[in-house]
Assembly symmetry: C2
Homo-oligomer: 327 residues x 2
DNA sequence: AGGCATATTGTAACCGATTACATTAAAATG
DNA sequence: CATTTTAATGTAATCGGTTACAATATGCCT
């Protein structure tokens, strides 16, 4: 690979001039520019971005930290981030943290040594203080870091949960259980809160209708089994995420209860799979792609030292009514 | 951030000595080493990897090019690649190509300028000559680049397809249609070939039983509809991938045909969703994670200038028998 | 004591760009 | 015409490491 020096020699100018041509900075005579461009062309010269980064301290590279790209929520998010970054000439490093604080810290360590310019964080393993210690701009998605300093993109979890439950009531379901997510996750807490907001004061309500899960399908299936055994009169399940909802559907179908007649299921997230199963899953859909794209745009603004209109963006969930609830 | 010079000053030695300590290269007196380590500790010094890369020409960064991370096949692959790379201290840049040659070329261009050390390619948009022009080691997964020079990880598509079809025959299905993948993809061609190997000479066979698709669910559903309309006596569908198989199931269920009694469906790939729908999809599963991990290991060997045991690894698909075929 | 291998450390070149500063020529100004 | 601006270019420092080479010290052998 040719370097700037070879180009400068071929063009009969100094490296500074070549650099000026490359960056359109400073004065360069038209004729000189032409000579340089021709030399660049001839040698098929491409600037060495590592060298450039060393003097610039800019790498046009960002990190994307997700718990696990295999979790169906994250591919769409990753795609959005990557699309926007690509559009602005940035490159995206993918990191799977498994929600392990150690792994995250180690990753961030290396990424900072590599001069990444920003980080999109979908995780709750790290404390706000640890995140604040990062040297690069960070945007957190979904699992809010409880820190004013870190910009976030979140959804109105509580309100969405309320809507979902109200929707079930409107459709005539009378005893609604909740499969809640892992207790350490804020969004699980909020969704549960929203559920409670609606049902708490209803006469049939009783805390046993809330079953804890881990956002995985298996758990959802198992929890549903126990639930129905203990409370056979439950006629609707509001799951805190789609995977658990799918687990619930499996159990319900195995038990031979017709969906949506005898049992309704509503999920949360709006992942693609929900539209593939039959009956299709009714769900409170998050605008996953939009959230990723928004976070990416915010991060870029921060990297480029522009100010953000708002530190905390809350996007709206939307109910997608499909086959697991009756009309 | 402290740099090596500050460390050397605090330790009262030259930068060369610090570098020797860092890299455990050359001679360093025990006492000196201790002084240096203490200085590193005090300043919380971390080497600047960009600077190191500039003199090394090693970035410990690789690229992973997939058509679209949102396609359910790729997250597992990406996870495998990332896991192995992480294990060996490499960092993974994610690229979505949408199978567009232009996008791929542009990406590779930038990645090379950034000194990536290797590339894992899941794509067929580029010609072998274009791939050979890359300056870094490449491993191709799945969609074989028809070039002896590029190491590949593939599956025995043809054989797997044969097995799948034979399995259907064994189970007593008598008229098996095939939803084939996009004509430009080698694996679609091979799977179709495998199907033909078995059924071509059977009396009921007839080319109209092969319907073209694009590996997407929608297409699979639509193609199945047309298929059943034209050939109502078809009692089994072998789809070239799981997404189309899922589409097929949807159509079949909508038409009220009981699965697996009146209609069987077998997919190909073994993506996670197959186990979530009901009935669960019988499929020729590729060891997706293993393929990614294997490709990653091969790439690392190439980067580290070790020789490969074999340029072309063919891994075995395996039938997972589930609910869409009868016992 | 002289010669040689080994150990320890430093100086300076190098990786490949950017850029502050200096120099000179040409154009604009009074 | 002298003076100031603007234009054009080059020299060399810098980013933060690695490493070839040189210099010196030490121990061992004959």
């Amino acid at each position: 690979m040719a370097n700037i020096k070879e180009v400068s020699q071929l063009a009969g100018v100094s490296v500074a001039t070549v650099s000026r041509v490359l960056n359109r900075s400073g004065y360069v005579h038209r004729d000189t520019e032409q000579k340089v461009l021709k030399a660049i062309e001839t040698l098929n010269y491409k600037p060495n971005l590592v060298a450039r980064s060393l003097s610039n301290k800019k790498t046009r590279t960002i990190g994307l930290m997700v718990p696990d790209i295999m979790n169906p929520f994250f591919p769409e998010l990753a795609r959005a981030v990557e699309d926007v970054m690509q559009l602005y000439g940035y490159t995206t490093i993918l990191c799977n943290s498994d929600e392990k604080a150690e792994k995250e810290k180690q990753y961030v360590q290396v990424l900072e040594q590599k001069y990444i310019e920003g980080l999109i964080l979908v995780s709750s393993a790290l404390s706000p203080e640890e995140v604040n210690r990062f040297e690069v701009p960070v945007v957190a998605i979904d699992r809010t870091i409880a820190s004013e300093k870190v910009p976030t993109v979140t959804v109105n979890n509580r309100e969405g949960a309320q809507q979902a439950v109200r929707f079930l009531l409107d459709r005539g379901y009378r005893k609604i259980a909740h499969l809640r997510g892992p207790s350490q996750l804020l969004n699980a807490e909020e969704r549960c809160r929203g559920y409670l907001d609606i049902v708490e004061k209803l006469d049939w309500f009783h805390p046993g209708l809330i079953v804890s899960g881990d956002y995985e399908m298996k758990q959802g299936a198992k929890a549903t089994e126990e639930l129905i055994q203990k409370h056979p009169d439950v006629d609707a399940i509001f799951a805190a995420n789609d995977l658990m909802a799918i687990g619930a559907i499996r159990t319900v179908q195995k038990l031979g209860l017709p969906i949506p007649e005898k049992m309704a299921v509503v999920g949360y997230d709006g992942i693609g799979i929900g539209g593939m199963i039959l009956p299709e899953l009714t769900t409170m859909a998050q605008p996953i792609y939009d959230m990723g794209a928004l976070a990416a745009r915010m991060l870029i603004r921060m990297i480029e030292k522009h100010s953000l209109d708002s530190m905390h963006h809350e996007v709206q969930v939307q109910l997608i009514e499909r086959g697991t609830t009756r009309r």
